[in-house]
Symmetry: C2
Subunit: 129 residues, 2 copies
Amino acid sequence: MFFQIDPSNGLAIYDQVVRQMKFAVAGGVLRTGEMVPSVRELARELAVNPNTVARAYRCLQDDGVLETFRGQGLAVTANARERCLADRLQLIRIRIQQVLVEAKQSRLAPQELRAIVEEELQGLGGREE
Amino acid sequence: MFFQIDPSNGLAIYDQVVRQMKFAVAGGVLRTGEMVPSVRELARELAVNPNTVARAYRCLQDDGVLETFRGQGLAVTANARERCLADRLQLIRIRIQQVLVEAKQSRLAPQELRAIVEEELQGLGGREE
DNA sequence: TCTACTGTAATAGATAACTAGTACAGAGGG
DNA sequence: CCCTCTGTACTAGTTATCTATTACAGTAGA
């Protein structure tokens, strides 16, 4: 229902949860005050250990995206949206920059690079989520 | 002189060596028959353990890019160029696809995505290597 | 109060990647 | 032969991540 986790992604699972949670807030899927799934529920859903989800949630608290209500759960904070909008741009920009640097070092022509990007953008274009 | 390694890259170090070696062959920096740096020399240069370089070289042998001359070193194989040209496209395409999928899931607008790509391309444009 | 949920914490174990150190066989130059 | 280079192999230890399990405190509803 919520996220998609790929264990063989290079990124740690908890990090994937953090990123996708931020993206959900930035994209308006999760709104201020809304409760997120409980640690155990999300862990079951993702077929992942509860500790891993708890760690992700702890990170999200540290980043001011979630706040805890003891005994009840965690909710999206008041100014989470603006934080996440900024974070989303930054996170994606960094990944793009890494790929482009590598492509540049490999002496792949920029036109060829643009072609790949456009091609892959077309490949994703139609679907929503 | 040769490569740039970033230990906190997500990618394993030996994998970075493999990729950059393939890119060097694809880009014409390394030619057929040319000797590559010895395990110990490259390890010293990259400030990395010799075992890590050895592992990368073993991968490159398995992929038919390098061949070993016992007691002398390793050299680029005859048909390494064409293999690496294909590998380069594939490796970069996969990374781009991963970023675009994530961006798509985050509901970032494609125009905004293109803007970031162009912006970062400009940022790299001038430099050679 | 009892029960079931919540987050949080702590411990131990598994696995992967990398480091550290040592050792061995082959090639080549003196 | 001796020395130095080459790749290769092995063991052990470190670190980070994730799993597995148990436990505890707070909240809420019957």
